[in-house]
C-alpha cells in the first residue's frame, strides 16, 4: 500500500484495525473469547507481554483475575485508593496485621490507613511473595545487562515508574510491591527460599473493596535464579461484582480483618460513597 501521500498513509494505518497479537488489550472487554462471567460484565480484558506493564482504575466490588497461562508470568502489583493516592498498599501492615507473611486466598491487601483496598478471593497458584519486591534498573543491569523500560530486560520498578506517571504519581509514590505466580518461603534462619512458579494455568482473583488504582508490572521475580530473563505473558480479566459485605465469607474470618472491613465501610459511608 502506497504511503507516499497523506491519503495512502491514512489508508495504510486504518487497514491495521483488527490485527490480533498475543499480548494486547481486547476492547471492548466483552469480546474476550472465553469470559469467566457474563460477557457484558467484563470491564478489562488484556494479555500483558512479558517485560511489560498495565494499569487501570477499578470500581469497588470489581473482581480482578490474574492468570499465568504459560507458567512464567510474575505479576508485580501496587494498589492505591483511587483519587487519594496517599492511601496505598502497605505490605508491612498486610503481613503484620494478619499474622502471615504468605499471600493466599482469604488474605486482605491493607492500606496504610487501617482499611482494605482489595481481598484475595481465589487462588489456584499458591506461589506468591510479599517480601522481595520487584527488580530495579541497577539489579537488572547487573544480572541481564540492561534494565531500562525499552530494553529486552525491563526492571519492574522502571515499569512501575511509567505506570505511576500515567496516574499522576512519581517514584516517591512507589512503596514495596507484591508479586504473584513466583513464590518464596522463609527458612527458620530467615533466609529466602525461591520456590518459583506452580506451572501453567495458575490464577489469583482479587476483589476491589474500595475504588482502587492498580499498577501491574509483569517481569521476572528478583530472586529468580535463572540467568536468562524469563517472562511470559500475563492474562488480566476484570468484571463487575459485589464488594465484601457484613455477613459475607471474608468479613468475619479474623478479628483483624473484621475491623479493617468495618473501618472501610464506615469511611465510605461517611464520604457518601457506599
Amino acid at each position: 500500500m502506497a504511503t507516499q501521500t497523506t491519503y495512502g498513509a491514512r489508508d495504510h494505518a486504518r487497514a491495521q484495525e483488527g490485527t490480533r497479537a498475543e499480548a494486547m488489550p481486547v476492547v471492548p472487554a466483552g469480546d474476550w473469547p472465553d469470559p469467566p462471567c457474563e460477557a457484558g460484565h467484563l470491564v478489562w480484558a488484556e494479555t500483558v507481554a512479558g517485560g511489560n506493564y498495565t494499569h487501570r482504575v477499578l470500581a469497588r466490588g470489581t473482581e480482578l483475575r490474574l492468570t499465568d497461562p504459560h507458567g512464567d508470568a510474575c505479576a508485580h502489583l501496587l494498589l492505591y485508593a483511587e483519587g487519594r493516592p496517599w492511601e496505598r498498599l502497605n505490605v508491612a501492615d498486610t503481613v503484620k496485621v494478619q499474622w502471615n507473611a504468605y499471600l493466599g486466598e482469604g488474605q486482605l491487601l491493607l492500606s496504610d490507613q487501617g482499611r482494605v483496598l482489595a481481598s484475595v478471593v481465589a487462588d489456584t497458584s499458591g506461589r506468591h511473595d510479599a517480601l522481595c519486591g520487584t527488580s530495579t534498573l541497577v539489579s537488572n543491569t547487573e544480572r541481564y545487562g540492561d534494565g531500562t523500560a525499552q530494553s529486552p530486560s525491563p526492571a519492574g520498578r522502571e515499569l512501575f515508574k511509567l505506570a505511576a506517571a500515567k496516574n499522576g504519581l512519581e517514584p516517591r509514590d512507589l512503596p514495596p510491591s507484591l508479586s504473584f505466580f513466583q513464590g518464596v518461603r522463609i527458612r527458620e534462619d530467615g533466609t529466602v527460599d525461591f520456590t518459583g512458579s506452580a506451572g501453567p494455568g495458575g490464577s489469583v482473583t482479587l476483589r476491589a473493596e474500595q475504588d482502587v488504582t492498580v499498577l501491574i508490572a509483569n517481569v521476572p521475580h528478583p530472586a529468580d535464579p535463572r540467568p536468562d530473563y524469563v517472562s511470559t505473558p500475563l492474562e488480566v480479566l476484570a468484571w463487575r461484582a459485589e464488594p465484601t459485605r457484613a455477613g459475607g465469607a471474608l468479613w468475619d474470618a479474623t478479628p483483624e480483618g473484621r475491623r479493617a472491613f468495618l473501618n472501610t465501610a464506615e469511611f465510605l459511608a461517611s464520604k457518601g460513597s457506599a
Partner: protein, 212 residues
C-alpha cells in the same frame, strides 16, 4: 556526639559518608523504628525488599547492607551485639493499631506519627514513608507463614553500628507501642552516637566527607 532519645520520641540527623551511627538499647528490649534516605535525593530511600533481595534473608545483622529503592547501598551494619533485627513488620500506626488490638488504642502515640512529624522537618511527607527497619525487634516467620512480634532478644547496653555509604538522612522513632512485646510493653530511651569517618579505610571521597 551522643544523644539520648527519650521513650516514645523521634530523632533525625544527616550522617555523612563514612561516619558511623551507633544505636544503644539502654534498658534492653526497645524497638527502634528506622528509615534512611539519600540526603541529597530523598526519593532514593530505604527499601526493605531490595535489602532482603541483596542479602537473601529477612533478618539484619553485621554485614547487612541497607539498600535503597534504586538498589544502591545506603548504610552497612558494621557491628551488632544482638544478632538479628526486623525488616518485615514496619511501623505501628494509630490506624493499624485499630486493626491489631482494637479501636480503644486510637488515642495512643505511634511510630508513623513520629515519622510524619520528624520527616516534615526535612520536607518529607506521607508518601515518603515506606516499610522500615525495626532494630532490636524480633519477628520470626513459622513454616506456615505465621509471623508475629515476639519477646525481644536484646538486653540493656547492647548496641549496633551502621556506617553511612553516602550522605544519608536518618529518621528514628523510638517505638511508643505498649500493646505488644516489641519493647516489653514499656518504652524506654535509646542512645545515638555519631562517630567520625574512619580515614584508614576511607577513599578520597570519604576523607572529604569527614572534613565537612
Amino acid at each position: 556526639m551522643k544523644t539520648v532519645v527519650p521513650a516514645r520520641a523521634a530523632w533525625s540527623r544527616v550522617i555523612r559518608e563514612g561516619e558511623t551511627l551507633t544505636i544503644t538499647d539502654l534498658h534492653g528490649n526497645q524497638a527502634v523504628d528506622f528509615l534512611v534516605y539519600d540526603a541529597h535525593d530523598t526519593a532514593v530511600r530505604y527499601s526493605a525488599p531490595d535489602t532482603i533481595q541483596a542479602q537473601g534473608g529477612i533478618f539484619l545483622t553485621t554485614g547487612s547492607v541497607l539498600m535503597s529503592s534504586e538498589h544502591t547501598p545506603l548504610m552497612t551494619v558494621t557491628a551488632d551485639d544482638v544478632g538479628r533485627h526486623d525488616t518485615v513488620g514496619g511501623a505501628c500506626s494509630k490506624e493499624s493499631n485499630t486493626l491489631r488490638y482494637g479501636h480503644h488504642t486510637w488515642s495512643q502515640h505511634a511510630c508513623v506519627d513520629n515519622f510524619l512529624a520528624e520527616g516534615a522537618k526535612h520536607g518529607l511527607g506521607k508518601r515518603d514513608l515506606v516499610s522500615n527497619i525495626n532494630w532490636y525487634m524480633n519477628v520470626p516467620v513459622e513454616k506456615d507463614g505465621t509471623l508475629g512480634i515476639v519477646d525481644g532478644i536484646s538486653a540493656p547496653g547492647l548496641s549496633l553500628t551502621l556506617r553511612a555509604e553516602r550522605d544519608v538522612l536518618v529518621l528514628v522513632s523510638n517505638c511508643p507501642q505498649i500493646n505488644n512485646p516489641c519493647n516489653g510493653f514499656d518504652p524506654t530511651p535509646v542512645e545515638m552516637t555519631i562517630g567520625a569517618a574512619e580515614t584508614t579505610i576511607g577513599t578520597a571521597e570519604t576523607t572529604i566527607g569527614a572534613a565537612r
